[in-house]
Amino acid sequence: MSLFLIAALPFLGAVFPALLIRAGRNAAAGSTFAVTLLALIGLLLHAPAVLRGETVSARLDWLPTLGLNANFQLDGLGLLFAGLILGIGLLIIAYARFYLAREDPMGQFYCFLLLFQGAMVGIVLSDNILLLLVFWELTSLSSFLLIGYWKHLPEGRQGARMALAVTASGGLAMIAGMLILGNIVGSYDLSEILQHRDLIQASPLYAPALILILLGCFTKSAQFPFHFWLPHAMAAPTPVSAYLHSATMVKAGLFLMARMWPVLSGTDLWFYIVGSVGLITMILGAVIALFKDDLKALLAFSTVSHLGLITMLLGFGTKVAAVGAVFHIINHATFKAALFMNAGIVDHGVHTRDIKQLGGLRHLMPVTFTLATIAALSMAGIPPFNGFLSKEMMLEEATHAVWAGVPWLVPALAVFGALFSVAYSLRYIVHVFLGKTRHDYPTKPHDPTPGLWLPPAVLVALVVLIGLFPNVIATPIVSAAALAVTGTPVEFHPALWHGLTPALYLSVVAVLGGALLLAAHHGALGIWNNLPRPEAKVIFDAIIRATTAATRRITDTLHDGSLTRYAAIFLVFTLAISYYAFASGVLGPQTHTSLPISVMPVLGWVCLVGSALCVVAFHRNRLLALVLIGVSGLIVSLTFNYLSAPDLALTQISVEVVTIILLLLALNFMPQQTPRESTPARRTRDVVISITAGLGVGGLIYALMTRDFAMPSISEYHVANSYKGGGGTNVVNVILVDFRGFDTFGEIIVLGIAAIIIFAITEAVLGSGVRARLLNRKPSYPLAGDPHPLMMVVATRVMMPIALMVAAYIFFRGHNMPGGGFIAGLIAAIAVVMQYMASGFSWATDRQRLPYHGIIGTGVLVAAITGMGAWFNGKPFLTSAFGYVHLPYLEKFELATAALFDLGVFLAVLGAVLLALQSLARYAWQPGIVSEHPMDINPERDDASETIEGH
């Protein structure tokens, strides 16, 4: 079966339990089992070849530019691990079917389990380290789901998050490490990397790469000081613990160290980091395990200890040690998985895992007792079980290891660790099963159904068989794996008896010492409890809490919702950067001759500057500020006119009028005064910022104005082609409707959007609780005695047609003289607004036939359709056409599509302005003020005082 399929099967299969759970728990479990079995068979089909020393591979380009490719390969090591993952996986699946309670969502469980299994298989089959990273992180994610499976348990949630935090951070470090490694070799393919031992170890980047990769391995394999997450992951259901912590997750780190062994090991750095960390972890785990009362905690720390043992063996860097490591990986997987399941059985049968409440179970649970005993003895390294064999090899190697020139240090510590490991293993038997039967068990203990004890039984059988016939069962696979790890064939002939070797003596010491230690357990416990020791979880939680608090503080202080501050930062930053840009460049000499200064502009300047300064000075009186800003606007438009921009002058003035009306209407609902809020310090800061900005902008424009264009401006073309190309003598207008008509198109759309936004807000606000408040609000100013003075009404009525005519005139002359659709539109709008103001909202609305929405829409559509018209004679969007028409008694005049486009502008502007003002006016609407007779000036009129229209 293709390696792709083997790696993919668990992922594809993960959907079955999720779906089939509807068909019952057996269906879910069955499908999961079947999928795993299929993958295992597929794997075993390759076994003969691999055991012959060949490697099977399957390659597929995924992202060649990065070097991330779906390359898989299967060698001895891969086969060994994949076999463990899938094989033990099968047992776990069967076991879980009977272990999980009825209320546990089993479909979810098996789905997560398969995802995790797939990730693990992916790791051990990857031939591309980037692909390996992908699966590596996937195990972190899927184990997160598995550990947090019982989401109702706080321990489950915390354990899951802790495991994720630790393993994921390691994974991130490993990303960097792998990138460096690939950088050194120039390829991310393992088979390539493994060829370049010398190149890698010679590289200056070897140390960082090694450390970063080891960070990944140590976190995953719970090596000191990252060991603390593993026990907390025990909150998971026992099948999960049995799977993650015996054969899979925690072995991933070991696998990677074994994988990289040929290129990374053999240096002092490797020996001192890996060897020492392994040694420490082994001892630490063993010691703590002895004093844990929770069965799963005991097993968890013993796992830590054994992982340390294997790490240490890999760290020694000798081939034999590496072989021992591989061998112990198998042995540990078998007896540890068995023990975890066993602990689960006890938990199931007695409803507690607390050793204090256990003891004397051997008669009540004989089967469980037998299994536990064999597995535990193997864990203790007692012959004739497999644990003994690999432990012997470990001790043997330890005697050869010289740490910093001290020959006795490693062996001594190794024995010390072994001693404790014997002690806690025996404790698992003695304190749980031996002793006299108690009568205070939470429930009546009983042996479980075969479904629960068969899976561990299979493993225990292996424990025994490997112990008795290692060469038959273990040698082939171990030597194949060893070949993959060390790169050279290794002689591997484990035997229960190979003479009176130092290792044997050490073993004996360990066993006897362990037994004694257990006998003295009570006293030892006392000492242990009095030892001060850091509680890893507390520290970890404190760190996480501190980080979260810190980030929250940073986030909240930075983003405190004060726009004023944001704006200040924006301005300061902008000024700083642009000053840098300016200062780091060269400023050329002035080339443009300035215009002479005459009286008029000086007067204008005084008015403009004066009004602006007054706005600032009196801005707290909002009405006054409005008046003053109106003055500024007026002067600006005069400036435009003075500096030969009549169109701008017209536009500016008409926009000014509408804007002021808008602001006035709005102000009518808002406070009339601005309170004095900011401190003097703040005001000084703001003054400094504003003056700097003013100097910057003023200086910039001065510098620009006093220099000529570096190259002729494109506008010369516009002047030249305005008439013959655009058919108009007003170049500005031709630019607007022709050369750059597309800008104008966008511009009227902006206006249209503005109008419908305003309409939408009004709708939203009037639809909310605000409406009530508006209806019975008291106007902030006393109302005029007569809201619709006759003079004004009459005047506006008379003005209406005149204004419209002016608008039409402005519109039509636009193409050749100052004017155009935009200005015309504003003038027309003002004419209508005058009606509103003079005769009242209701009166005007009654007489307003066309919906403003329609006018806006028509405007935009007219403009768009005019533009599209050009398509029909094969010209691009907005291509204008024009011709001159002679009518009798009239001067020849021009018909231009541009005029049609301008009509669109006119309509859009008209509609937008009116819709905006009308929406605003709707805020003011109050019941009972409909003035039916705006021209009636009878002072006795009853509703005179209520009306508030048209102020």
Binding site: G585, L704, F709, I749, I756, G867
Partner: protein, 518 residues
Amino acid sequence: MNHWIIAPIVLPAVVAPFIIMVMRFHRDLQRVFSVASVVALNIIALVLLTSAMDGTISVYELGNWPAPFGIILVLDRLSAMMVMLTTVLALAVVLYAIGSGWDTRGRHFHALFQFQLMGVLGAFLTGDAFNLFVFFEVLLIASYGLMIHGGGTTRLRAGVQYVVYNLLGSSLFLIALGTLYSVTGTLNMADLAVRVAELPVEDTALLRVGAVLLLLVFAIKAAVLPLHFWLPASYANAPMPVAALFAIMSKVGAYAILRMYTLVFGPGVAITDGLVGTWLLPAALLTLAVGSFGILGSRNLARLVAFGAITSMGTLLIAISLFTPQATAAALYYAIHSTFTAALLFLIADLVLERRGGALVPTPPMAQSGLIATLFFVGAIAMAGMPPLSGFVGKLLVMDAARASAHVWAIWAVILTTSLITILGLSRAGSILFWKPHDASMAPFPRPEDEEDAADKDPLLAPEPVPGLAFVPVFALIAALVALTVLAGPVMRYTEATAAQLFAPSDYIETVLQRPGS
């Protein structure tokens, strides 16, 4: 003359007023036309993409005026890609808005939506600097409308800030353009490139100011620190589907930086030398850092996702600020990923907000908790850049491209550390949202969503969700991310070709300027 190029701008510009005029009061008609228009846009985008795929650059001269005197639209690999990205995102968002009934919680949603699309697409297609400003304004003002869609006190207040901040930006844009024009005398980007290259080196100060001001304007859109302050409150308080659409708006800023600083002020241009690199990379690194802090520090899901959007912009700009073809190719890949991811998370956030409010405090289980939890998990993987989704690939690409940089260690350190913080933040949020509720100790909890906003909702505009439809776009976006991951190879081939095109601008310039105006 290939009229397809203008279609993505004209179509929405016609559909929107049509909706406003004719079907103001017909909710279903509006929906039909809006969706139809977006589908059509997708087809158009596909056509454009295929025509740009082979590296041809097409120019569309509006009003038939030759560049640089008239306005032109330019279609090259980059713009075609961005247009495609926009339209795909738009389809997902509009479907969600309909499915969740958001489009009926205020007036003129669909019209504004179409206008927004017009603005974004125009910004991607135009080849004229001032026209770019106009389209920026179109998309901005439409976004103002969408952001406050549905009203509500907090949203309106956040809206004021959003508008004011961006008005400052618009003023800056005008000043920058004025400066550039008054030095070079042109507005057409290709022409700018030519003239900037020819400028005398003894008079550079003013142009440098113009160039950097322009960069700042785009940096605001791209939410680069310290110009990002407008983003969190605006996105967090906008309707979530709208925020999802905004995922493309920040890309407009990134696009403009990429366009202007490869075409006009490219790495080879001596005059603007050292203007970009000096501060953009550090700023981008800070952006990424602050964004990830926000993810871990947020008290509210919507805000968390908003900061997620900031982190993605940070990563994107790190890649852009390197200004090498390799990094740019990575940046473009990451841009696609981050757009879909941000949108996906905003939509998922909306599913959550609608059911239990956004505050990150334990509440009783919500409806469809299991399904939404799964979606959130997938979205979180994408945002944290964990495998197997495209975020991981994108991150690897960016880190790989950073090798060439002198600051490679800083870049790697920041990217990896912030990833960890992001993972912590997202796992924390997920655990609170989806696990804690199942705690036995979980007492019933009042809806933390501020009630007064709910009260402010218009009773006349009762939302009319289409049941089930809301989930379709969510799954579609996930599918898009999966496709982006599986097809990483082909996608990267395209982005690499795009980067190559960007860093050899002579082709672009010649196509634009040599073409004789008829």
